[in-house]
Amino acid sequence: MAATSYIAETLGRRTSRGFFARLRGGDEISYLITLACTVSILLIVCLIVYELWFNSQATFKTFGFSFLKSSAWDPNADKYGALPFIYGTCVTAFLGMIIAVPLGVAASIFLAEMAPPKLSNILTFLIELLAAVPSVIYGLLGIFILVPAIKAYLVPPLKSVFGFLPIFEGTFYGLSLLSAGIVLSVMVVPFIISVSREVLLAVPVEQREAALALGATKWETTWDIVLPYASTGIFGSIFLALARALGETMAVTMVVGNTPKISASLLSPGYSIAAVIANEFAEANGDLYISSLIFMALVLFGLTIVINAIARIFIMTTQKRGS
């Protein structure tokens, strides 16, 4: 009988509490194995930091921090500088956020505050599917559909109205910082929406009822009461999306133009950290070349870790306050 043997085991455990006796009971083994797996995750994280650090030392020793300020990128002359890539990464990510944040926050307000629960659930489901679309698919659509569309319908009116601004200077060939920013905005919107929606739903319903009872309209309740209450969490979702936009590789690589130069115009091609790694790492030869690419990966890693760390804390504080 199974039950009898368990009882016998438990009784046996009670009489001899030795480590090996408990080990035989299976408890200690499963504890140790699962603990080992947990600790190994910490080790993997340490390993990531170590590998990035160790493998980028050559660049750090050769160029020091001037690597980050130099815009020379000439593998033939063994001269490397990260500035054009850092610039491109930041510009595309911020451009993406400028478009994605209003869109995402508005949509999350609709899903959490206005839409009937059933409709909200269906729409949220579709938006989560959007988040599951692989980035290479976004790149594919970016190259063949979006970039021609931007060239035909978006850039001519932009140039005729805002053409005097330096950010819309020059000829537009299609692959550009602007295209990358737009693709990024589409990619990060689902993340803003799904996190912001949950944060908004965590706002206690009494807050809304009180405002409505005082005679506020639905919109005033949302804008003056619910949003300030949830603002920290919404900022968290925005930071989360920003980290994603900074690290996004494939879609950016396919539409950004891959030209390492700094230009004020959004219509000119650029480059990003992730894109240069994707393009050049497999063929990179020479220690300094590889080390420079890894150093940029380390910069990207540090940036996204810090932003993610802040975002998680923001989201946790709001959700804790809400529940």
Partner: protein
């Protein structure tokens, strides 16, 4: 008693509510745009050769991606073998054994790991596997994707184990089962449908990853022998074909994109349906 609301406030109210609705429709319509274009360009470029033939050498038209489809399967199998056990067992630890503070710290680290850009994980896999072995391999690609699977594996396991009611555990304990027996014969089976669909979502997420495979699995024009050779995968093929200048390769890229997206979305939808209907139905 009704309060009078001025026309301007009423107007702003209606206007902003409509605007937020329009934004939602705009975002959701992107999904249908994606599906529509892939259906138009992808499904029409799809033929039987795509699933059965090898890629043709440069310059020739025709051919397929049979090796990339099998290659993706092999890399994903490796990723699952590497990532899921570690993530699953760590999740068991967090849900069943760990103290509160330690669990919080681990959860935080796991979330951070989840936020690391995939290209950075690719570089780490390169340094860990490709460099010591001196060549690109399916194993390196599997390692990269495996590391990427760990965070979601941990979080879903913990979440679904925690959703198993306490009285089921107490019942098992009362019958004299040890804690380990309770966990592995009672709690985990009770949560199994949620756990499986969580892992399916996890797999679907890394199935479309391209960046970490570029310099770990690399690619291959032919069938790849074993797990220690460079191997073709669907996402990398899509990328390479999409940026090539040849029209025929663009068609193949669309076809491959269609196959990949169909696969990812079918897994996603079915996993989410299982979670929504399962006994351990939860918020997520």
């Amino acid at each position: 008693m009704m309060m009078e609301i001025s026309t301007s406030r009423r107007f702003i109210n209606g206007f902003m509510l409509t605007l937020s609705g329009i934004c939602t429709v705009l975002v959701v319509s992107v999904l249908f745009f994606i599906l529509g274009y892939l259906l138009i360009h992808g499904a029409t470029s799809l033929n039987w050769d795509f699933f059965t033939k090898l890629p043709k050498p440069a310059g020739e038209t025709g051919g397929g991606m049979a090796n990339a489809i099998v290659g993706s399967g092999k890399v994903l199998l490796l990723a699952t073998v590497i990532g899921v056990p570690i993530g699953f067992l760590a999740g068991v630890f967090l849900a069943e054994y760990s103290g509160k503070t330690f669990a919080f710290a681990i959860r935080y680290v796991v979330d951070l790991l989840n936020g690391v850009p995939s290209i950075v994980i690719g570089i780490v896999a390169y340094a860990l596997v490709v460099r010591p072995m001196h060549h690109f391999s399916a194993l390196a690609g599997g390692t990269a994707l495996g590391i990427m699977m760990i965070p979601i594996a941990v979080r879903t396991t913990e979440e679904f184990l925690r959703s198993v009611p306490v009285n089921i555990r107490e019942g098992a304990m009362a019958l004299g089962a040890t804690k380990a027996t309770t966990i592995f014969t009672v709690v985990i089976p009770a949560a199994i449908s949620g756990l499986t669909s969580g892992m399916m979502l996890n797999l679907a997420r890394v199935a479309g990853e391209t960046a970490p495979l570029l310099f770990t699995a690399l690619g291959n024009q032919y069938w790849s022998k074993g797990y220690l050779a460079p191997i073709a995968t669907l996402p990398v093929m899509i990328y390479n074909y999409a940026i090539s200048p040849e029209e025929d390769l663009h068609k193949q890229a669309w076809a491959a994109g269609f196959v990949l997206l169909t696969l990812v979305l079918v897994i996603n939808v079915s996993a989410r349906l299982i979670i929504a209907r399962g006994p351990s139905a939860q918020r997520r």
